[in-house]
Chain length 357, copies 2
Amino acid sequence: MRQRDPNKTTVTIRDVAKTSGFSASTVSIVLNNAPLARYIPPQTKARIQKAAKTLGYHPNVFAKSLRSKRNHTVGVMVFDITDPYCTPILRGIENALYQASYLPILADAHNERGRFERYLEMLLERRIEGLIVLANWLYLDINLLADIERGKIPTVIIGRELESDAISSVIVDDEAGAYSGLSHLYGLGHRKIAFVRGPKALASSKARWRGIQRFAKDTGLELDPRRIVDLPDQRNPNVGVDDGFRMTEELLKRKRPFTALMAYDDMTAFGTLRALAKAGIKVPDHCSVVGFDDINPSQLFVPALTTVRQPMEAMGAAAVVIANDAITATAENRTVGAIHRKLAAELVIRESTRAVP
Amino acid sequence: MRQRDPNKTTVTIRDVAKTSGFSASTVSIVLNNAPLARYIPPQTKARIQKAAKTLGYHPNVFAKSLRSKRNHTVGVMVFDITDPYCTPILRGIENALYQASYLPILADAHNERGRFERYLEMLLERRIEGLIVLANWLYLDINLLADIERGKIPTVIIGRELESDAISSVIVDDEAGAYSGLSHLYGLGHRKIAFVRGPKALASSKARWRGIQRFAKDTGLELDPRRIVDLPDQRNPNVGVDDGFRMTEELLKRKRPFTALMAYDDMTAFGTLRALAKAGIKVPDHCSVVGFDDINPSQLFVPALTTVRQPMEAMGAAAVVIANDAITATAENRTVGAIHRKLAAELVIRESTRAVP
DNA sequence: TTGTTTTATTGAAACGATTCGCTATAATAT
DNA sequence: ATATTATAGCGAATCGTTTCAATAAAACAA
C-alpha cells in the first residue's frame, strides 16, 4: 500500500485544508480569490490565509499549470548575450516582464543554428506562453520560425522585421536615425564625410544607408564612393572593432581627406577611433566621429562617442507589451494579428564631434 | 458530463497509446527508456516510437515534474544585469547549464532588496532545482538566504563568500590578483603609485588591498597615504566611472606626483583615464593605469587597459558544476557540504602601462 | 505433470491543484 | 407555513505523466 511520506518537505493545499479545518476546494478558492470567494465569509478567509502563512504554503506551479495551461513564463532567446547591445534590451524585457509577473527563461543561441533549434525545442516543451527573440546582428533565416507558428506561441522579434506577417516585431527607425546623425555632422559644417557602412546582408545596414542617401539628396551633399567602405559580411560583435579598425585604415590609405566619419555602429566606431589615434589624427579636433546604437562603453570612452541612440530598454519593454497582449488574447480565445513597432532613434551629442575649423 | 475537446491541440501520451495499440504505461516506459523497458521487444518499441513521432508528441513537462519533482530548471539571480561584469559570467553559466540540459530562469534584482525577495519567492514557487546568485558589487545581507536554506535548494553564490557555511561560493583570488597587478607596475620601475581603493564595505576591496599591502611589505615599496583615495560606499556600476573621475581629480589636486595608478576596478579606471586626459596627462606616457576585472570595454579603449582579469566565464561554469553536483546529490538523497572555489586572476598587459622613463 | 522464472503488458493510484455540480443551511419573500 | 434565493462548503473529476502491483503467457526446470 502506497502511503504518504511522513517526513515530507513540501506542504500542499491539503495540509492547509487540514490545519484550517476546511476543504481543499475552499482553500483553493480563497487563496486564488476565485469568483466563488465572494460567498466565503471574511473570518474563514482569514483562518485559511493564516494557516497558509504559518505552514509556509507555496502552491505548486506544476500542478497549477497542469490544469490551467498557464505558467507565466516566457522564453527570451538572444543570439549572443556577450554583445553589449543585448544587455539594455534584456533589462527592458526583464523589467516589463516583472511588472506583469512573468518570469523569463533565457536562451542564448551563440549564433549557432543548431543551438537555436535545440533551445526552441526546450522552450516549446516547457510550454512557454510567449517568445521574445532578440535578433542582434544576426543573419536569421525564416524557416526556423515555422516551428513557432505551428505551436501558435505569440512571438515578438526585436531588431528585425520578418517578411512573414505572423510574427510581431520591434525595430528602431534606422533610416531616420542615420539621417539625423549625418544631419548633425552637416550642421557642424562637415562636407568631406567618410562612411564605414555595415555588412550588406544586414537589413539595418540598408536602412541606415537609405537615411544617408536621403539626407544627401535633400541637401545636395556629395557622397564620394572613395570615402565609403563596407564592413565584411561575416562578423561577430567583438571583432566588429577590428573590422572598424581595418576599414578605417583602408580609408586613410586612400588619401581622400575627410573631416568626419560615420560608422555603421558604435563597435565599428571604436575601431575607427583606434585607427585614427594610431594615425595621429585627433578626435574631434581633426576628425569627428559618429556611431550608432549608444551601447554602454560609448559614454565611457575618451572622447565620449557622439552616436545615434537606440532606445533599447524601451524596445525590450515594447516587445513585452506586444507579447503580453497576444498572450491574454490567446487565453481569451481571441485572435490578434502581428504588430510591428518602429521606435525612434535619438541623436546623442558627446565629445567625438565638433564644428569643422 | 465533462468531455474531451474533440479539436484539442495538444497530443498526450494516451493518444500515442491509442494509435500505437499499447497502453499509456508501456508508452511511458518505452519513451523514457525506464528500467522495465528491458522486457519490451524491439518491435513494440519501434511501433511506439513511430506513433510518437508521427503524432508530434511532446511530453508535458508539468505533468512530468508533478510526479518526478524534477524540472531541469535553475534560477539565476543577478543584482544588476546592466553591469558589464555580469555578462561574461552569465555566458559561462548559460553555457554550462546548456551542456547539462538545464534551462535558466533569469531574475534581476536591480539591487533592490524587495525585488530580490519577490524574485526569490517566484523562483521558489517554480521549484527551481538550484539557484545561482551573481552578487556583483552588492551589499548583500545574509538573512535573505535563510529562505533558501529552509527550502534546501542547492545554492551557489558568485563573487562573494558568505560567513554561513551552508551556501557554496565561487570567487576570484582578489588578493593575488591585486598583488600581480602591482607587481607589474613595480617591475616597470614605478615607485610613486597612486591607488583608488574600492568601497570599504565590499569584501573584494579589502582583499585587493591586502594584496597591495603584502606586495609592499615583500618589496619594501612605500604606500604613501596621500596617494590613496577611497571610493564612496554608495555606488552603482555605471556611476563607478564618475566616482573614479572625481577621486582621480582629488588625487591630482593633492600635488603628490605619481607615475602610475591602480584603480579598484575597470570602471573606476575609465574614470581615471578621463580625469588624466582632462589634466593633459598622457597614458601611458606620463602615467600608467591598471584596472581590475577586464570587462569588455577595457580592450576597446584607446589606450587599451592593462588590467587584472577575472576568469568570468570560468566562474560561471564553476558555479554550475557545483550546483549540478549538489542537485544530483539531492536527487539521490545524499547530502553534500558547501564548496568554496577561488579562481586565479590573470594579469592582462595592454597599452595603458609602460616602463617609467 | 506441476512449479518456478522470465518476458510483456496493463490497470490504477498517485503527484497537487482547480472547478463544476451538488448539498445544506440561513435569510428572505410570498 | 412554504417556496425561493443567497450564502458556505465540499466531493469528485480532471489535467498528463510515472510507477507499482498485478496478470498472463511463454520458457524453463524438476
